[in-house]
């Protein structure tokens, strides 16, 4: 017991919360396999979680970075919808080029980051208010660009959307006795690259460490010689750019434009970050944790739906319960750690 408490004491808050997240995810997945039966044992079940949530993973990475810096950005869902719609309209109505549509997505994200970052960092406006306005603006703009939802039929785009990356050796035999390869979509590859890139950014660059410092204590960070304003600005820049990329990955997954796309995605991103051990108060968090946070959130959703409780409210209630349990576990562990330190 003593050994455990000293170990606990020497762990950083970030690593401690990360450990909790990973342990809980593994337990949950084992639980899902045990109680929900065969479906979860197939590798493809896991890959489908990735396929369906690649966009959310990217959005959550950005969200974690702003949250670590002590801010929040609730515009990412709106940006996703806006990106989908703009790209859809460009590809189908203007017979556009796929590469250019990617550029459009990136530019929308960059523009959002520029404006929101400027307002938050240099004019010192609450990030919640700024991104709330950003969210309304994005949703409004989406409808202005095109009111009706529609599926994209651009041939190049559809080909890209249908591209499947086969994972060798992970396939399974289906009901008809035929061997089916396991696959992931392109979006998953992008998401994994983003996760790795953001992990490196947070761990091994001065900028990444500045995010933590500013989130930990703004005043101290200033005294330590960090450019607090620039750091905050860049955190929003990264988050919104990732929202642009995530938006395109979402678009690639659903293949349509609609004003109602990614409804509540920002809340899922916040929930994933929190489950992943990022604290709303800032200064604590980890991208790997966020990645597992997204997986946990979607595993829970899958468990709920495969248990036949497919209605939206059941999902909502389970997610709420899970968030509560997570926050309680986190605060209990943190309190224990504080007590251990005091001794």
């Amino acid at each position: 017991m003593e050994k455990v408490s000293t170990k606990l004491k020497n762990m950083t808050d970030t690593n401690l919360l990360l450990t909790i997240t990973i342990v809980v995810f593994i337990l949950m997945y084992i639980g899902a396999v045990l109680f929900q039966g065969k479906g979860f044992t197939k590798p493809q079940a896991f890959f489908n979680i990735l396929n369906n949530n690649a966009a959310l993973i990217i959005l959550s990475c950005g969200m974690s970075i702003v949250m670590i810096t002590g801010g929040i950005d609730i515009s990412v869902g709106g940006v996703t919808a806006l990106v989908s719609m703009c790209c859809a309209v460009y590809l189908d109505y203007h017979n556009g080029n796929v590469a250019v549509s990617m550029l459009i997505a990136l530019l929308i994200g960059l523009a959002y980051g520029l404006v929101q970052g400027f307002l938050v960092a240099y004019l010192d406006i609450q990030p919640f208010i700024v991104s709330l306005a950003g969210m309304f603006f994005a949703r409004g703009m989406t409808t202005i660009v095109n009111t009706n939802p529609f599926n994209v039929e651009n041939a190049d785009f559809v080909a890209l959307k249908e591209t499947r990356i086969i994972i060798p050796g992970m396939g399974s035999v289906n009901k008809l006795g035929k061997y089916v390869d396991a696959y992931v979509e392109i979006g998953v590859v992008i998401a994994l690259i983003v996760v790795i890139a953001m992990f490196i950014l947070l761990r091994w660059t001065k900028l990444g460490r500045s995010f933590y410092a500013v989130g930990g204590n703004k005043q101290s960070a200033l005294m330590l010689g960090i450019n607090v304003k620039r750091t905050k600005f860049l955190s929003h820049m990264i988050c919104s750019t990732l929202a642009g990329i995530g938006g395109y990955v979402y678009f690639l997954h659903v293949g349509s434009g609609a004003a109602t796309h990614a409804q509540g995605a920002e809340m899922n991103a916040i929930a994933s970050s929190i489950i992943g051990g990022t604290m709303l108060t800032g200064g604590v968090g980890n991208i790997i944790g966020t990645f597992f946070g997204v997986l946990s959130l979607s595993t829970i959703k899958d468990i709920v739906s495969s248990a036949g409780l497919d209605q939206a409210w059941w999902t909502g209630i389970t997610i709420a319960a899970m968030l509560c349990i997570f926050l309680v576990i986190q605060s209990v562990v943190m309190a224990r750690k504080k007590r251990a330190i005091r001794k």
């Binding site: 101290s220 960070a221 200033l222």
Partner: protein
């Protein structure tokens, strides 16, 4: 200017609207010395520090570092020049590791080299004998160690001047000793240290020189050996030792109370705010007071009595019966009233009317679900507005639009309304005009003559001498003496505050 002076300030002026915070202040620091900067609150210590660290810009004057004139416009400027400051509040990031806190924000490299950083930090921590691991999260270190890490950061940046702004106020004795050891070590390396503190004992333990400021002006610079404590205190307070004009002018309250029975008694009381356990009693109809320099624990004592801070040990008796006070409401139910030190934060509720502010305490005691009728409330308010002659347009006026003195009277009315038999007044005369000050003092004496016991605290010793018949003297969060009768003089108080050598 001494040719080897490390840092020298000449003729510094700094004003704020309506206040001259610093007037023609000179200051000199040699390398390898620990220099205490002393003065009461408002003397200009912190303004001087802030000018030196670039938080404020000076209005006039020159700053020389190693003989060369420098201009300091921001904390970063100061850091680059080798002037580092460790504040009372830790200005590090608790969520980062010890090593990161020592190195972050210091270079423009893109990448973070953890290995190199941890090695450098470990070396520095070892050489300064700081009991922390480089990879440990800062928040898991004790406050003292955090402070030392801040110092280690400063040392690692090759600082020439290290400013310690009240670093010891949240440390316990052992931690203070560790800090002192570190300070002496740095002195040996030739660093000039400016040490700001309220604790006299600490000054005499580590410092080489003292510079005293008072009311924004330089009083003088002294070698520590040439300035006995008593003189230091008198220089800080600005009272000459042989100033006899301050003899107690009114002895109205005095003698009658001496025989009264003990109303309230406390034994071995101490709170989480770090005061040493103290005993205390007050008789019926007596006015007594706590005195001592700022930060000596005056307010903490009465806050412990009232239950405003968490009491950790000790027992209390009222009228011979043991009582338990865990929170203010317990004290109120036992007939104890407390007028807090900071009127704006702990006292008034600015947006409520004068009437509501006055009946607040009584309402709390009665319970919020049994409100007074409007007529009752008005009657209470009008009564006290009249007896205390509170100048207000009406009882409905929001209290924040009243002057400081009148606000204070309202708070006083709030407590008088609960008819306490023991009233604690913590700095009731601070920041109000002279007329009201006199009113309040008179009121205190009148209440005492009617049988109420009052504890009166004020930074102005004159006021206390006029009102109190017994004074408890505090130093460094300890009760160090008690003065009554003929001993109640300015000189005696000062010598008791200075302690130690005055007796010998």
């Amino acid at each position: 200017m001494g040719n080897q002076a490390l840092l020298s300030l000449k003729g510094i002026y700094k004003g704020f609207p309506g206040v001259k915070a610093l007037q023609n202040v000179d200051f000199q620091l040699q390398s390898g010395e620990i220099h205490a900067l002393m003065g009461e609150n408002g003397a200009g210590k912190s303004t001087l520090i802030k000018v030196l660290t670039g938080v404020y810009t000076k209005d006039e004057g020159e700053i020389f570092l190693e003989g060369q004139e420098v201009s300091i416009r921001s904390p970063q400027d100061a850091q680059h020049l080798g002037i580092s400051t460790v504040y009372q509040e830790i200005t590090l990031c608790p969520n980062l590791s010890v090593a990161e806190n020592m190195y972050i924000g210091r270079s423009d490299d893109m990448l973070q080299n953890w290995k190199k950083m941890n090695e450098g930090a470990t070396k520095m921590l070892e050489s300064l004998d700081i009991p922390a691991k480089a990879t440990q999260q800062l928040g898991s270190c004790s406050i003292a160690v955090q402070q030392m890490v801040a110092i280690a950061r400063a040392v690692d940046m090759d600082c020439k001047v290290l400013i310690l702004d009240e670093p010891t106020s949240s440390l316990d004795d052992q931690e203070v000793q560790k800090l002192f050891k570190l300070m002496k070590e740095l002195r040996g390396r030739g660093v000039g240290i400016i040490f700001v503190t309220h604790f006299l004992d600490q000054v005499y333990e580590v410092c080489d020189k003292i510079t005293v400021l008072r009311d924004g002006k330089l009083v003088g610079e002294y070698e520590i050996k040439e300035l006995p404590r008593l003189q230091l205190v008198s220089k800080m307070l600005g009272k000459e030792l042989d100033d006899l004009s301050d003899i107690k002018s009114s002895d109205a309250s005095g003698e009658t109370a001496k025989q009264g029975e003990v109303l309230f008694e406390a034994e071995g009381l101490s709170s989480t705010e770090g005061i040493k356990p103290f005993d205390f009693y007050i008789r019926k109809g007596e006015v007594n007071g706590f005195t001592g320099l700022l930060g000596s624990g005056r307010s903490e004592c009465v806050r412990a009595i009232f239950g405003a801070d968490r009491v950790v040990s000790g027992s209390m008796k009222k009228n011979g019966k043991t009582i338990k006070i865990n929170k203010p409401i317990d004290a109120m139910k036992n007939g104890i009233g407390y007028l807090p030190e900071d009127r704006k934060i702990d006292g008034i509720i600015g947006d409520l009317s004068v009437r509501e502010n006055i009946i607040l305490a009584l309402q709390v005691m009665k319970g919020f679900f049994k409100p007074f009728t409007k007529a009752q409330a008005n009657a209470f308010a009008d009564e006290y507005i009249k007896t205390l002659s509170i100048k207000t347009a009406s009882a409905d006026t929001p209290i924040k639009s009243l002057s400081g003195g009148n606000q204070q009277k309202c708070i006083l009315a709030r407590w008088l309304l609960t008819h306490p038999d023991y009233l604690i007044l913590d700095e009731p005369t601070r920041g109000i005009d002279v007329g009201t000050k006199v009113d309040i003092q008179k009121l205190v004496l009148k209440l005492a003559s009617e049988g109420m016991s009052v504890t009166f605290i004020s930074s102005e010793t004159d006021e206390m001498l006029r009102t109190c018949s017994r004074m408890i003297v505090m130093r460094d969060r300890k009760v160090v003496g008690e003065l009554t009768g003929e001993d109640l003089t300015q000189n005696k108080i000062m010598s008791t505050i200075a302690g130690g050598e005055a007796k010998s």
